[in-house]
């Protein structure tokens, strides 16, 4: 195979992937009201965005939700990974299977099953239902990240700790947690991004008491074009990019 053909092809596809994002970013600085024509540079849509109270409130709600969902899923996910890695117990395969199902099943299936649960147990839809749902879909990703780290880990270390008289809890705290720290951080960042970007599950399990960003965007873009969305999209893009780079940096650094 000649060298330039694959390279040209790769470049072309990358261009196609990035053109819509570039358009969004460029148009977020567009002064024109119609949204299609270029009317000069302006920050008016960013201004409009921050003057929109409901929008700012939704932004805080989303950030708080992502923060808490990422934290809870990291804790539970890490404990799950440790249990799967270290303990022998009945139904391990079932546990693995359930995590796999959460990861593979279409989001909408997870969404309606959680909605059914919340309504039948009488949980009011809002922050708590969103948190439970987001932690659930973030969980398998944290488990995988932590498991990957644990699988390359010297088994003699925890044995040594135990021989020296450490309890399981002490050993976990002083030996295992430091080892999986990079994976915990990466998993946390992953969960944060997943939570912040989710539309499908949130559509079902959120209530009017707790409006979050993706749903606010959703209701805006269904009817026509809203230039504020360009500005908001650009901000989200920069934010996700920073988070992603941070998580990659942490993972790469820990490998050295």
């Amino acid at each position: 195979m000649s060298r330039w053909l694959p390279r040209t092809y790769l470049t072309l596809i990358y261009l196609l992937l990035y053109v819509p994002i570039l358009v969004l970013v460029v148009f977020s600085f567009n002064d024109s009201r119609t949204g299609y024509e270029w009317g000069g540079l302006s920050l008016r849509w960013y201004e409009a965005l921050f003057n929109n109270r409901a929008m700012v409130q939704a932004m805080w709600n989303s950030l708080w939700l992502a923060l808490s969902a990422a934290t809870v899923s990291t804790i539970i996910g890490a404990l799950t990974a440790l249990a799967l890695h270290r303990y022998r117990f009945r139904g391990k395969k079932v546990l693995n299977g359930m995590l796999f199902i959460v990861m593979m099943s279409p989001e909408i299936v997870l969404a309606i099953s959680l909605l059914a649960l919340f309504l039948l147990v009488g949980l009011q839809l809002g922050y708590v239902s969103l948190l439970l749902a987001h932690v659930t879909f973030c969980l398998p990703f944290v488990v995988i990240t932590v498991m990957a780290r644990l699988s390359g880990f010297d088994e003699r270390l925890p044995e040594a700790a135990r021989d020296l008289g450490a309890s399981d809890f002490t050993m976990t705290r002083t030996v295992l947690i430091p080892v999986i720290m990079p994976a915990l951080l990466a998993g946390w960042l992953l969960g944060f991004t997943l939570s912040l970007d989710d539309v499908v599950v949130s559509t079902f399990v959120s209530g009017p008491s707790y409006e979050i960003l993706p749903l606010r965007i959703y209701s805006m873009v269904r009817v026509g074009l809203k230039p504020e969305v360009n500005a908001l999209g650009t901000l989200l893009l920069v934010f996700s990019l920073v988070m992603l780079m941070l998580s990659q940096w942490i993972l790469l650094r820990s490998k050295r």
Binding site: P20, A83, M104
Partner: protein
């Protein structure tokens, strides 16, 4: 078993993990299965008696048409992703190692950015007075703006755009594992390029193809916001029907039955994927 003082931690961890998964994964899925065989009830959402009406309703020509159209759009999406993704992953695996990391990173950046916002960005491009029409008109290629938004094509473009990385990543994984000595062996045994492709490369990359198909086909039936933004009311996905039944029409049994069909489709694809992997394993490659 280990000494007694180590047990409380272990027990606490296992209870937490099992509790979470049983309450938030197992029970909800059971509820959906249950709801699908119950009767619609305006007050409590579902009630007895048990029946298969919801499944019968799936076969109602009106809905059957929506499902088949959704399946068609999902299949087209998958096919286009495969046609773009296969050579893409192959090319990617040929690039120098140190560049691959960066290229993979560039591939996953868009897929960690808000998919809703990216779908909206496509609207800016595809609209009647959008960028693509303006560009084509100023180049003199078309006289009148084309109607691209609110068509089947727009939905497929949107789905391909959102799901392409999910096709490429598993394909890249199999191409990355493809050993050059096998290709050389095939060449030494007198196989031409085409023959090597059909008899060596295709079978060895099949698990990646199936994994990619699985990761694209199912979401392509569920991402209801894509037709909402790009497709208008005539190009609905199964996801739109499920969402409608649960949030607007309040017909839980029907929505649940539709989602079970999706789940069964997933189970079938997963089974095919396992089978293809095992076959390769048995052939000792």
């Amino acid at each position: 078993m280990r000494s007694a003082r180590q047990q409380p931690f272990r027990t606490a961890v296992l209870i937490l993990v099992w509790g979470w998964l049983l309450f938030l994964v197992f029970t909800p899925n059971l509820l959906v299965v249950g709801a699908s065989v119950m009767t619609r009830d305006p007050g409590t959402f579902i009630s007895l008696p048990l029946n298969l009406d919801a499944y019968r309703q799936l076969l109602n020509p009106l809905y059957l048409e929506v499902f088949l159209h959704s399946l068609y759009m999902a299949a087209m999406t998958t096919l286009i992703c495969l046609l773009i993704g296969y050579p893409f992953a192959w090319s990617l695996s040929k690039v120098a190692r140190q560049h691959q990391v960066l290229l993979i990173f560039l591939l996953i950046v868009p897929f960690w950015t808000n998919s809703l916002v990216r779908t909206y960005a496509l609207k800016l491009i595809l609209a009647t007075n959008g960028l693509l029409n303006s560009a084509l008109m100023s180049l003199g290629l078309i006289e009148e703006p084309l109607q691209m938004l609110y068509t089947e094509g727009a939905v497929i473009i949107g789905l391909v755009y959102l799901l392409l990385p999910f096709m490429i990543l598993p394909l890249y994984a199999v191409f990355d594992d493809l050993r050059d000595d096998l290709l050389r062996a095939s060449h030494d045994l007198g196989a031409g390029r085409f023959s090597t492709f059909i008899h060596v490369i295709v079978p060895l990359t099949l698990p990646g193809v199936l994994a990619g198909v699985m990761l694209v086909l199912l979401p392509a039936m569920g991402l209801f916001f894509v037709p909402d933004i790009l497709g208008g009311s005539r190009n609905l996905l199964v996801g739109n029907v499920i969402k409608n039944q649960f949030l607007d029409a309040r017909n839980w049994p029907f929505g649940a039955a539709a989602s079970i069909v999706l789940t069964l489709a997933m189970a079938f694809l997963m089974f095919a994927h396992r089978l293809s992997k095992r076959r390769i394993g048995e052939e000792g490659v």
